[in-house]
């Protein structure tokens, strides 16, 4: 059985994450487009935007899409709590079972779905993910949310919006807009998961072009 997205991970590992062996500059080399400090600032800004648009985030629930969306949701919750002084419920929403492309690859392992004990009925759910791409992941998340309860409203926060939408989906909060070509792969690295904070863009390996959301 395969782990989550191994081919994508391998493709970028082959491309080489920055900070590794010295690389000669070339057209296919991965490039860092966001440094750790920039990521931090983007998240802080999003946190403030959430506070503004939800009147103080009094009934907001942040649900991250595994794996890195969960980390981002937690970081956002921390920032909001720092500013407002009260904790923000956050958790995770795995969308594997709701994907529309299930039959194209062997069955994938499930990620965790942890909904805060208060539930989501009547709340403003902010879905959090690392990269917004085709929009299919978000569509699956909306279906999954539907089976969990009935939020008052649903919003979307992403660190990177790389364009190429295939469905009418748009993010309410965006860390950075990143125009890309379909041949490129965008990868978000987070310290809690990958040991460092960075957003990298590089060429996909010949065998695997899929990435992101």
């Amino acid at each position: 059985m395969h782990a989550l997205h191994p081919a994508r991970d391998q493709a970028l590992a082959a491309a080489g994450a920055p900070g590794g062996s010295p690389a000669r500059p070339g057209p296919a080399d991965p490039k860092t487009v966001l440094e750790p400090a920039e990521i931090g600032r983007a998240l802080t800004r999003i946190a403030h935007e959430i506070l503004e648009r939800t009147d103080g985030a009094s009934d907001v629930v942040l649900l991250g899409i595994p794996t890195r969306g969960v980390t981002l949701a937690r970081r956002l919750a921390e920032r909001i709590e720092q500013v407002e002084g009260h904790p923000v419920p956050h958790g995770s929403l795995d969308i594997t079972m709701y994907r529309d492309d299930l039959r194209l690859r062997p069955a994938r392992a499930l990620g965790p779905t942890e909904v805060p004990p208060e539930g989501i009925d009547g709340t403003i759910v902010v879905i959090v993910d690392d990269v917004l791409y085709s929009g299919r992941t978000v569509r699956a998340a909306l279906d999954a949310l539907n089976d969990l309860g009935r939020p008052r409203a649903v919003q979307l926060a992403v660190l990177i919006d790389r364009g190429h939408r295939e469905l009418p989906v748009r993010a309410d909060y965006v860390g950075k807009n990143l125009p890309t070509s379909r041949q490129e792969v965008v990868r978000v690295l987070l310290t809690e998961v990958d040991g460092q904070d960075a957003v990298i863009i590089g060429r996909a390996a010949a065998t695997e072009q899929r990435s992101g959301t």
């Binding site: 059985m1 795995d94 079972m97 709701y98 299930l102 039959r103 194209l104 690859r105 062997p106 069955a107 994938r108 392992a109 499930l110 990620g111 965790p112 779905t113 279906d143 539907n146 089976d147 969990l148 309860g149």
Partner: protein, 312 residues
């Protein structure tokens, strides 16, 4: 994973852990208002039960329906099979109906193997003769893992499991010996010599005839059902003697380590292999095993059917 789940030996350690971890996630569905996932929408799962078993059939049916699959139940009584239709012809009928998966329970060992040669879909063994019952072993392993607080991704390494009863005729015993061994547990079989296979020494487990000797040194006791008809074939002299030597009563239960749990695949013969007070005690996981069965079977159906078709 293979295309089919016929024997617990089909599962590597990683495969087994994947099923258990997936079942962990799916078990949380029980708390949701809508206990349904769209994953197997449009797929057809056929329950082909040649042996009566309401409990297992309902468990598979619930699992398939919670994944939004269409379920067709086929039981042998009163069917064309009862009128002499062969297993092969039944298989061809299912093919014509477009079954994506066939869950089969049959009294003949090897029936799922034969079926797999005649249908294109996935075959899941729900119990074949005395051979195997892999989903039972999976739900037993799942129950043990939860009870002993092992987190996701971890197996059963170092846990001592004792299986007691009619091993010779038990498909549950065979599947459990294989799977528990794969997951790192230490397995001991306890039974009268007449109820152990001649070549059991080659199995990956220890064997003993003395139940009392093993009781203080085990973390899990799994009691197997003993059929009273075996008495007529001289496997043991009387129910009374069997119970006395190999039954789990209150006295024996008191000798178990404090943390030890008692399991039974059901249906139970209260008073024969297990006393009522044991079956109803807090150490007993018998009711949970049933609930866990649905989550585990959902995981199996999802992993076998939910993705692209695996190469056979």
């Amino acid at each position: 994973m293979n295309r089919h789940l016929i024997s617990a030996a089909d599962l590597s350690r990683d495969d087994a852990l994947l099923i258990l971890d997936t079942a962990d996630e799916l078990a949380r569905m029980a708390d949701r208002p809508i206990k349904k996932l769209p994953t197997l929408r449009g797929r057809t799962v056929v329950n082909l039960f040649f042996e009566d078993s309401t409990r297992t059939r309902i468990s598979f049916e619930a699992a398939a329906k919670r994944l939004s699959a269409d379920v067709i139940n086929f039981s042998a009584k009163g069917s064309s099979v009862a009128k002499g239709e062969s297993l092969k012809d039944t298989a061809l009928t299912l093919e014509a109906m477009g079954a994506d998966a066939v869950v089969i329970r049959h009294s003949a060992s090897g029936a799922p193997h034969r079926l797999a040669g005649w249908v294109r879909g996935t075959v899941v063994n729900a119990g074949d003769g005395a051979h195997e019952h892999p989903t039972q072993a999976l739900l037993d392993a799942f129950t043990i893992r939860r009870k002993f607080g092992r987190p996701g991704g971890e197996a059963l390494d170092g846990l001592r499991v004792t299986i007691v009863g009619d091993v010779l005729h038990s498909r549950v015993a065979r599947s459990n010996v294989l799977l528990l061994n794969t997951l790192g547990a230490e397995v001991t079989l306890v039974a009268p010599p007449t109820l152990l296979p001649v070549a059991v020494g080659a199995w990956p487990c220890s064997v003993g005839y003395d139940f009392d000797a093993v009781i203080p040194k085990t973390d899990v006791v799994m009691m197997l059902r003993v059929q009273q008809e075996r008495m007529k074939a001289a496997y043991f002299p009387s129910v009374r003697e069997y119970s006395r030597r190999y039954g789990l009563d209150g006295t024996r239960m008191a000798q178990l380590p404090e943390h030890a749990i008692v399991m039974h695949p059901g249906p139970m013969n209260r008073g024969v292999e297990i006393a009522a007070e044991v079956a109803d005690s807090p150490r007993s996981t018998i009711v949970e095993q049933v609930a866990n069965g649905v989550s585990v079977r959902m995981a199996v159906l999802y992993l076998l059917l939910g993705g692209a078709e695996a190469q056979a």
